[in-house]
Symmetry: C2
Subunit: 425 residues, 2 copies
Amino acid sequence: VPVRSGSTQEEVRRHNLQAVLHHVHLQGPTSRADLAAATGLNRSTIRALTADLARHGIVRERPPPAGGRSRAGRPSLVVAPEAHRFGVLAVDVTVDKLVVAWVGLGGQIIDRREHETTRRAQPVAAVVELLGEMADDLLGAEAPWEACIGVGASVCGVVQREDGLVRFAPNLGWVDAPFGELLRARLGRPATVLVGNDADLGALAEHTRGAATGSDHVLYISGEVGVGGGIIADGHQLHGRGGYAGEFGHVVVNPTGRRCRCGSRGCWETEIGEDAVLVAAARPPGGGWPAVLEVIAAARAGERAAAAGLRRVGRRLGAGVAGLVNAFNPEVVVFGRVLADVFTATEATVRERISTLALTAPREQVRLVPAQLGEDSALLGAAESAFAPFLADPLRTTGWPTAPFVRERLAPPRDDLGLQSSVSG
Amino acid sequence: VPVRSGSTQEEVRRHNLQAVLHHVHLQGPTSRADLAAATGLNRSTIRALTADLARHGIVRERPPPAGGRSRAGRPSLVVAPEAHRFGVLAVDVTVDKLVVAWVGLGGQIIDRREHETTRRAQPVAAVVELLGEMADDLLGAEAPWEACIGVGASVCGVVQREDGLVRFAPNLGWVDAPFGELLRARLGRPATVLVGNDADLGALAEHTRGAATGSDHVLYISGEVGVGGGIIADGHQLHGRGGYAGEFGHVVVNPTGRRCRCGSRGCWETEIGEDAVLVAAARPPGGGWPAVLEVIAAARAGERAAAAGLRRVGRRLGAGVAGLVNAFNPEVVVFGRVLADVFTATEATVRERISTLALTAPREQVRLVPAQLGEDSALLGAAESAFAPFLADPLRTTGWPTAPFVRERLAPPRDDLGLQSSVSG
C-alpha cells in the first residue's frame, strides 16, 4: 500500500502517543524518564505527549514517591493511567457461569459480578438479559457509563468476528445465536460490542499480561467441557478468514474414537476435555472443573483409577500438543482453565509424548506453561480487545461511539492539540 | 514501536517505489496510467518514480503498442521490468531431481538446468557440488553474476531459517546438514543465499502468482514421498519461531497407524504420501509421482484395487484437511505436487469427508484447489524469497552484496536520486 505524503506529522504523533499510552496501560504507573528509555523518544517529546494525554484526562501525572528522583537529581513525574475515568465492560460467558466486570485503563478489574448458571443450555436472549442486569447493577454502583470506551465479550463457542454471531456453541446449546446484536441492544448505549471466542481472548490476555508476554509465537489451549485454542503468530492474533481459527478441540486425533457433540468422531476434546478426564478416571461425566480437581487430588493420594486415568489423558494431551508443535512451531504453549491443572498433574507424561512425537527442531524451541491469569484469561482478553481501538488512537476527537462524555467534556478544540510540540523530538 | 520524525519523506518515497516495482514485478509491463490507478498515486508522482527506476536500469519505459493510447489521447508509456538485467538464482532440491534456474525480475524463468538424482540419499556436499556446476553452466550461458540480486533455495526438509541449516530431511538422508553455508561457499560470490522449506516456498509462490492470489488466509499442502505445508495468515507467511511451521505431514492422525520415518507412528504423510497411495492401491512403494499417476489412470480405466486405494487415500486426505480447516480457518487450501493430482482424482471423497468432519462455520468459507504452478511452485517461491529484499528497497545504494555491477555502474551519486520530486504527489 503506497503512503501519501501530507499527513505524516500527524501519523508520527499518533504512533508516539500510542507507544506511550500502551506502555502505561501494560506496565502501570511509569516515570517520564522510564517512558523515554522504553520508547526511545527524548524527554521533551515525552513531556509533550504525556501533557496531551493528561489534558484529555487519560493519564494523570504526579510527583514520584519520596526518594524517587532521577539520576540527575530532578524529580521525574510519574505517569499513571486514569483507571477510574476510562474503562471497558468485559463479559465472559462460560458453561458454568456468567461474569461481567468493569476493567479500568491499565487493565485491572475494578469491580465484577458473577452468576452461576444452573443449566448448561440456555436461550441466548435469557443469557443476554441476565448479563444486562449484571451490567446495570455494576455500572450503577461503580463506573460512569460515559467513560466506557467499549464492551468486550467472550463466548465459549465459534464466533463470527464481524458481528458477534455465535455460529456454534454446543455446550451452551446455541447455533447461529445473534449474541453480539442482542447484547448491543440490551445495553442500550452506542457501545462498540466486540465478541470473541474464549480461547482466542485467553490467548490475547496471556500474551499481553500473562504466561506468554514477550513471545511472538504462542498457542493457548483452553479446556473446560470443550477444548479451544488461540494463536499468536509473529506477535499478532491469527483469526483466519472469519475469526474461527484455533478450533483444535475439533481436530480428529483418533479416527476410532468417541462421538463428539460437533457430529464428528475422535475429536481432541473427546480425549482431553473435562468429561474425558472424568470417564478415564472411572467417574461419571458432568462434574466440571471441581470434579477434575478431585481426580487430581485422588491420584496424588494414591488412587489407582484416578492416576491411570490421568496418565491416559496426559498421553493424549501430549500427542495433540506434539501435532500442534509440528504444525505451528510455537515458542510457548499455554494451558488454560482446567487444562492448566491437568497439564500440571501430568507434565512428565505430556513431555514424554511430545519428545517422542514432535520433530526435534520445533520441539527444542517450545516451552510448556500453565496459564497465569487463571479463570480470568478470557475475561481479561475481552477487556483488552475492547481497549485496543482506543489505545491505537487515544486522542481521536470524534467517533468514540461510547464516550460522549469524553468527547464533549474532555476533548479540547482541535487547535489545542499540541501538534507541533509533540513531534519536536 | 515509536516512529521518529525526520526520515519520513524518504520513507514515503521508499514505500511508493516499492508499490510501483512490486506491481510491475507481479503484473508485468504496465502503462503509467494503470500504475497510477493501481497505486492510487497521481501521474506526476508515478512519472518521477518510474524515471528513477529506469535511470537505475531496473525498469525500461517504452511507447505503448500501436493503438495503446490513454483516454485523453496522449500515449502512456509502458513500464516493464528489466528481466535480463536483474534476476535471481533459484534452486530446488527434491527427492527426485535438482533444479537450478535463472529467474528474471518479473518472475519468469529465463533458463534452467535439471539433474535427475539416481539415489534418494546423497551427502549434502555432493548435492551442493552438483548444484554449483549447474549454476556455473547456467550463468556462464545466460546471466551475468553481476546482475544477481540473490539466491533462493528450496529443500524438501525442515530448514532453520536464519542460516539454511537443514535440520531434518529424511527423504534426502540429511540431519543437521549445513546446506545454506555450503551452497554459499560453493557459489563463491558474496551472494545472499536464502534457504527455505519446499512447502513454505510453494505457498509463497501460489500466493504470489498461482492458485491463491488475492487470498490472505492460505494453506498449501505439498506431497511427494513426504508431506509438508506452508501457511499464509493475514497475507503473510507464518514461519513460527525458527521457520519450522507447517509440518502437517508429521501430525499424528492415526495413533494405530504405520511407522513414520520421523520415528513417530500414524503421521499424516504415512496415510497420504506417494508410498501410501501406492500401497493402498496394492502396488510396491517407491515408484514416485509417475507411479501415482499410473494408479490414477488405472482407477479411471476401471481397475478396482486402484479405485479402492484412491478412495481410501481420499478419505484420509479429506479428514486431515478437515482438521486443518478447523485449526486455521483458511480461505483457500491449495494441493501441490503429487497431491494436486491425488486431490483432483478424489475430489468428491475429500469434500464429503470435510463436510462431515469440519465445523460448519470454517467449512463454508474454504475453497479447495489444485496448485497452478505445477512442479515449479517451490522453485518460483525460492525466486520470490530472493527478490523480496530488493523489491522492498530497490534503490538502496549500498548493501546489495551480490550486485557490485549494479551498485558501481548503475547507481548515481546520492544527490541525483530525485528525492524531492518523488514525493511531490
